[in-house]
């Protein structure tokens, strides 16, 4: 089959690799219907040292079950399924607490002998715990939105949930990438009435408004903080959803959060230390969030997509075939595309 490999910064290739097959009785093999490129894929795309051997990449996919191991129940060939961006047994104590990202028997796509998501097929470890059946056909128009359950929309939702967003909380979302826009949609879905989106790419913030943002602030840094404070009578917002992963975004987050408020971060941190000094301490500000246990949220979010209440798949503004995957990376890195859908 064909799959995407990354050889180093700026060097993504689609190559022939061995077809996946069952290795463990808990495995399944899934033929991929849709995959996509994640903002977090752009970190290695921007900085990975060049290597002779490519590494499999991609961690968001949905597809059709082709084969299941003897210990997998509840799944059969032909089922349409979505995979969260980490695999997990969904039965250990961490999974039971909704923290499948810390599963005692789980792991990441593309690591060691596990396939990446950006390929024609994937061997899925712990298939019964990992995969979620979707009541749609292979040609459903909902596939792009359903694919966002794998990562980007679940991640926005995790950010909003851990921040404690609800009808009574004001919200700032930092970042107009696909995760930031998903966080806006998630905050709106959770009942927030005031959602300020900080971002400066008009096409993206326009989608943010469509998703529920009530205000947009294009300014950054100190200027952006001042603007947000002006909008909120000087106080800042109860919750801040940090969807970038860079230190300046986090500094802005602490600048715009209200005393007693919560900053939640879901942007993969490109920093080692967080500026939570004496001043932040005196204001009782909490920092929460982390990598999103998408599996924990799919059952709750799925019905709203099936019912057409939300359409998180709107974050995809470009669709590519396998030959164009390298150009899809380039387009996202150049901010030409917001998020790229891959259709094998």
């Amino acid at each position: 089959m064909r799959a995407t490999l990354i050889y180093g910064a700026g060097d993504v290739r689609v190559e022939h690799v061995p077809d996946p097959k069952l290795l463990e009785p808990t495995d399944a093999v899934v033929r991929v219907l849709r995959s996509c490129i994640c903002g977090s894929d752009l970190w290695p795309y921007g900085s990975k040292p060049a290597a002779d051997h490519g590494a499999r990449i991609g961690h968001e996919f949905l597809g059709v079950v082709e084969d299941v191991g003897s210990e997998v129940s509840g799944l059969k060939s032909g089922d349409v399924v979505v995979a969260p961006f980490v695999w997990a047994d969904n039965t250990c104590d961490f999974c039971a607490e909704g923290l499948q990202t810390s599963c005692r028997h789980g792991g990441q796509w593309g690591a060691s002998d596990v396939d990446g998501g950006q390929g024609e097929a994937v061997r899925v470890p712990q298939a019964q715990g990992t995969l979620v059946k979707l009541p749609v056909g292979e040609d459903s128009a909902l596939l792009p939105s359903l694919l966002t359950l794998s990562d980007v929309f679940s991640t926005g939702h995790h950010c909003a949930v851990t921040a404690g967003v609800g009808p009574r909380t004001t919200v700032t979302v930092i970042g107009d990438g696909a995760v930031g826009l998903s966080a806006v949609l998630a905050a709106k879905r959770l009942g927030a009435e005031r959602i300020v989106l900080m971002g400066r790419h008009a096409a993206r913030t326009d989608l943010g408004r469509e998703f529920g943002a009530t205000d947009v602030i294009a300014e950054r840094g100190e200027e952006g903080v001042e603007k947000l404070r002006e909008l909120t009578g000087g106080d800042g917002t109860h919750t801040v959803l940090e969807c970038v992963g860079l230190k300046p975004a986090l500094e802005t987050a602490f600048g715009v959060v209200r005393d007693g408020g919560v900053v939640s971060r879901v942007g993969a941190p490109q920093y080692a230390e967080v500026p939570m000094d004496f001043g932040v301490f005196m204001r009782n500000v909490t920092l929460t969030g982390g990598v999103a246990p998408a599996r924990a949220y799919i059952d709750e979010l799925l019905p709203d997509i099936l019912d057409g209440k939300i359409e998180p798949g709107k974050v995809f503004d470009r669709t590519v075939g396998f030959d164009e995957v390298p150009d899809g990376y380039r387009a996202m890195a150049d901010r030409e595309a917001l998020k790229v859908l891959i259709r094998p």
Copy 2:
């Protein structure tokens, strides 16, 4: 009257200052029955640059109302009262949320024209919102425990509450100072069954065991983290109460917290940045806590002290009169005394 002033590192003096009197109709004047020295007073005692003029110090006191302004109701001369370690109107939106430390009309003891707590009397701004009546006499044996409501026990409680301590959570307390021991007592009171105290002063950790610690770890740094992990099957504890305020303590906290867990900090931060890197992000660890809104907790904690269910005043292991206040500072700084009670 006499009051304590700090002139610089190691230089605390008791001097005559003007008697307090009502300045605003919302003021009261309180004659101090008991005050004490706080671990946080030791930071300026350790490092404050020398100055020609002393600054008033002390922020924990209980006493007897001597005079009240025309707009103060519910308080009268002769009432025994305790003051939280910041004053607040207790009516603004932040106060209503239980965040009196961010009160829109509040402030700190010892700042500008406000008296410090380590004196014979104090003018109390926003007296009606700030002071809490105590149903005891001036000579009650409960005064030391009641005084801890002002700061140290309320701070330990804040740490435990914001961390989410309850019957189902395991707890690590970092620091065997008065705040750490108070956090142990608070965690026990909230139902925690497993409380590991990290500290290495046997007299203090013995009191920690009396307060409810089930295990004591004397090791520090990496060694301490390993020991804690051993005790908890490798996982760490759900909650970590960081009661020191130094960066190594915070590093230990992130080392011993379980995935998905919460670190709460109440030690006044002597650092500007927090080590919450990619690894902490992948484990979904939250950092919360901050300066404790003691006023928010007094109504809840008071009955347990009056009933004798808890005796947080045991953290006081030395009592001094005014002449001995400078020696009290020295004794606490030298770790000769755990916490020093001042009896004018």
